[in-house]
Amino acid sequence: MGKLSKRVAIVGAGMSQFGRLYPLKRNPDLWVDAWIDAVKSVDNGIEPKDVDACYVGNYSSDLFNHQGHLGPQMANLVGLTPKPASRFEGACASSGIALRQAIIAVASGIHDVIAVAGVECMNELPTSLVTDALATASDALFEYPAGATFPGLYATVATAHFHKYGTTSEDLMRIGIKNHENGVENPFAQMQRSIAQMMQRKLKKLEEQGKELPDWKDEFDYLKSASNPMIAYPLRLFDCSLVTDGAACVFIAAEEVAKNYTDTPIWIAGTGQGSAALSIHDRDDLTGFIATREAARQAYEMSGYGPKDIQIAELHDCFTIAELVALEDLGFYEKGKAAQAVKEGETKRDGARPINTSGGLKSKGHPVGATGAAQAVEIFKQMRGRAERNRQVKFEVERALTHNLGGSGATCVVTIYEK
């Protein structure tokens, strides 16, 4: 138990543009764009005949697009009919689960190559209904009637963390500032602008309108102003990830065939998945996520690595507090110590352990069901030294990790990668 029967690698990974793209792009368009980008990334080429199955991660095309049954639809669009095609759902961890199941299926020997898809087209609904659709990932019976929104549940976790560890809103703001600085360097990101740039734009706009200019000394002043409205105390607009349309594609291959596709595959060192009570009131600890701790425990055990061995990671920053909590749940820092490390710049692109070089969900965007696969795309690029623009980390990455969290933390998938 707890081991893969054979080695499994990623031999290609790519993504569509992330953004507010509907109606110019819908699920089928996004997925084909991601597939084309992933095919391009396979050094020796890959064709539909090489792929044995299509595993699709998608949270809620039913609510967002009035479309279920995405597996065969996505498979057909890239020439995989009549091969097996299935959809996996675990809220925002949907394509993390699809990736994990593909790894397990390839390790079992039943398939040699699987195309993992992550797709979500959210902007077909107005924002108020998007929020309501996301709320179905939390407890509809007892949390929702009490007024819980999706940001509200993470905000509740934030107040518990603030109370126990003295965390502050500024600690969360630093995470958003960092992730936006990374997103500037990602051509696929939805918001390729830093918070400082957005502040300058706002000031310029006010000046043009002849309005009185606010006395903002830095980004923190801007983020504490009415320009960054409160959504659910203590989380403001810029603590929340984006509403995004996008897709990602990852090719998983068995060790016998991996070298046919590339001389530099990225190997799966460990995979883990955990769960928790759907309602946060049914959990013992409100300051962290047991599903993350369990997924991480399994992935570390399988890989033989520990938190100290991980050089870069893509963490599920659906809200800034989620990245802070993940840094602790994954064992990168002791409970209550992550905020100080973030303050000291350890998680920046030039820090000791860069986190979310892609820009994260905050800046790259969060097409919920596509996020897990998109995290693997960034790791694949970073580990092969091919991240675009100026975001390639300055050292050789031997070991990396992705953390994909579902809903208000009831599902988590952790994957560890090595060269």
Binding site: S128, T131, D132, A135, D139, L141, F142, E143, Y144, P145, A146, G147, A148, T149, P151, G152, L153, A155, T156, V157, A158, T159, A160, H163, P229, M230, I231, A232, Y233, P234, L235, S279, I280, H281, D282, L286
Partner: protein
């Protein structure tokens, strides 16, 4: 059927709340308490449950003040200028529940303190001409 012979279902739990009673289930084998009600004890795998009334006393475990609310709360009249407080309450019997926290100034979340003692307050909400009782809490 007497109240305490009712099946351990969500509907029966919610009906108790409609009648302004906070009830949970207690495992007669290991003593673990459940609110909302459960039929199967996940601590010891027993089905030997009984209904128990809760005191309705507890303390604030965590909360948020929500400015962009759910459609239901928007219909109840909450918005950016009138936020509401979603909270998790640790009951004195042990379990935690989710509920709206009233009797606090949700527009001044700094004044709301985790750990503050609370007591149950059943909220009669009017929606589309019908009165519905929701579980709520207020400062004790």
């Amino acid at each position: 059927m007497t109240e305490t012979e009712k099946e351990f279902t969500i509907q029966n739990y919610l009906e108790f709340i409609q009648n302004k009673k906070l009830m949970g289930s207690k495992c007669k084998d290991c003593g673990k308490m459940y609110v909302p009600v459960r039929k199967l004890c996940i601590a010891c795998n027993s089905l030997n449950m009984e209904w128990v009334p809760l005191s309705g006393k507890g303390e604030l475990a965590a909360f948020t003040s929500i400015t962009v609310g759910t459609p239901y709360f928007i219909e109840l009249g909450y918005d950016r200028n009138r936020p509401y407080c979603f909270s998790v309450i640790k009951l004195e019997e042990g379990p935690m529940v989710s509920a709206q926290l009233v009797g606090v100034d949700a527009s001044k979340p700094d004044t709301i303190k985790i750990g503050m003692p609370l007591k149950v307050k059943f909220l009669e909400n009017e929606l589309k001409g019908e009165t519905k009782t929701d579980l709520g809490f207020e400062p004790a």
